[in-house]
Symmetry: C2
Subunit: 409 residues, 2 copies
Amino acid sequence: VLNVQSPAEVERAIQQVFGHLLTDIESVGLFASLGRMLASDIVAEQYVPGFDRSTVDGYAVWAADTFGASFATPAMLSCRDGASIGEKPQPLEKGQCQYVPTGGEIPQGADAMVMIEDVEDYGDGMKYVLRPTAPGRHIGFRGDDVSPGKCVMRAGWKIRPQDIGTLAALGIQTVAVRKKPVVGILSTGDELVDIHVSPERAQIRDVNTYTLSVGVLSSGGEPVRYGIIKDDYVFIKNAIVDALRECDIVLLSGGSSVGTLDYARQVIEALVLQYSDSKILLHGIAIKPGKPTLISSIRGKPVFGLPGHPMAAYLMYKTFVSPLIAQMMGHKEEHPTQKAILSVNIPSNNGREELAPVKLSEKAGCWTADPIMGKSGLISILSEAGGYVRIPRDQEGAMANTEITVYLL
Amino acid sequence: VLNVQSPAEVERAIQQVFGHLLTDIESVGLFASLGRMLASDIVAEQYVPGFDRSTVDGYAVWAADTFGASFATPAMLSCRDGASIGEKPQPLEKGQCQYVPTGGEIPQGADAMVMIEDVEDYGDGMKYVLRPTAPGRHIGFRGDDVSPGKCVMRAGWKIRPQDIGTLAALGIQTVAVRKKPVVGILSTGDELVDIHVSPERAQIRDVNTYTLSVGVLSSGGEPVRYGIIKDDYVFIKNAIVDALRECDIVLLSGGSSVGTLDYARQVIEALVLQYSDSKILLHGIAIKPGKPTLISSIRGKPVFGLPGHPMAAYLMYKTFVSPLIAQMMGHKEEHPTQKAILSVNIPSNNGREELAPVKLSEKAGCWTADPIMGKSGLISILSEAGGYVRIPRDQEGAMANTEITVYLL
């Protein structure tokens, strides 16, 4: 068991112990695949376009027939009828032309298109081409877009609206995606009450069940809520064992008072001894806020003990749990960021990496980050925070008027 | 009827004609409110915290009792028991102290906390304070976070996970949000086939139904799919009339061949004459791709005729329809953008604003935008585009190695 590690060490430890975890594959319809992660590469099985086709309205010709054509000396070609839809056109002979609309198939033999505005018709069954064309002009060739065997999307890719366009164009109706990791959410602490209860003195509402549940939804996982568990060894043990049976990841969060998570820690230590493929990865992270975070593996499943303070719990969730949920679907998550100018100094952080919530504002394309500090309470921070700044432990705070990277929330 | 307007003029015209449209209000549970738009301000009705409370584990004191205290000359205070949870504590008298855990209520009379590590206990019922404290030290005062009447979120705000934390902390269980605008999606063009059909020659799969449906989902609207409508005046009229009855916005898209949207245009012109509160806003936009876009108001509802080419249709959707969907929920949508360095020149665009799809890549915090140009077909563009660059019509293209703004897709 390693105590109080740096965030980078924690990320490496999580990667080392849980990096192999992947959820099962399931097949979903095209509309339902939005935002899901591909379980396998999408490989084209056909040519797109499936045949050489015109990119303009005009006449298919032998390009050589039009060489030297001009307004004064047009090339005279005999015009034949086009094939009906679905009928394979006959080869075009030298000296012939055939009308082809945009998207229509180029008849065999023809090697170029002439645009309709470059052709005169005097009603004698012939077409008079006023300008030369060149081989390949105005033709989209078979397979120009995609050929069989081309990989158009990689496994692990998160499906966007335009990707559904790609899949639709390829005629793909169902997609193999990774199942959503099921994430159990437990709150412990006798001072916690559900949000419909009006808190008595010394009680506080259980905010973490809400922020963590919708956080899991946003990360693409499926939250399962176990609610508030009484601060008692047996109750907590039963709840964790239930959650381990039903979920892929378990998140516990303590209340804000001293001593919470103590039973949770004892339970986790006991379960680690009881089951194989179990260990405690770490007991603390050198990060502010978030130090009391506890990360363990029980029967190979990640179990996180998060701080009780909702902002701290949510920041730990975004920093360590959300990337793991993505990874279990085969997706490498890039935390979205925004460059911004820091409005005031953030002071030194005394040897711990600091995650400092900031308020973001934009003016004429320039972003400003205002740290939310001092006595600001929970609700003020939650409603104002647009992101957070990571200040490494070896850095003496962050200076006003410098450009910083904001991790968006 | 104004023809071929600039994108900025189009945005103004949409704002002028549809700027007053708002969907109805509905009430949803807290978990379901993620990503929805608030219909009214969220105003606190209580103090948070509801009482003065300690931010540390320690002893509540009269600060003046500790002035001058030191390790050599500690302040001696008589320690009394704390109140039970829910019981109103008695006022603390001068010379007394009382243990208060983090989050616990400060007894009346006390005006400061002393941290537990600054107190010695020799078992004689007294506490020896080794360091002075100051009035207000380590106390979170009633209403420090929020007071009744404080607006914590404005109407129109899009609810994020941390906002659900704010609502939970305030004990709010249901939220008034704007209903999702219902958006009807119709495809016209006899060359279109549904994606489960293997296209015959000259047929193409109906991609727009898919990209526009999931685009609407992403924008927070509710898509209703009417499928492929036969290219016939009566069929199209019936479908539009149905969609107008059932939806808040109607999106039509044509096939890629010449002449498509002709019947749609005739139907729209007839409906505009037939119904009051109807007009055609414009027949074309000076934008590439997307010129054939038709925007009308029928019985006060927005009806968009979009280009047949899926990338063009989707870009027009993102540029003009998605912000309107947001606005109908009272939300001002900022299109997410990313600054990037353009990898190669984008040539001049001949008097039309151009939306140029680009591929985005990142290396060490620096983003590069590669234009997807030339013969790249539909599928290649759809799967590679991470965003698009807007090149104003009065600008001679865009230069390589300059910083540009990419509108993310």
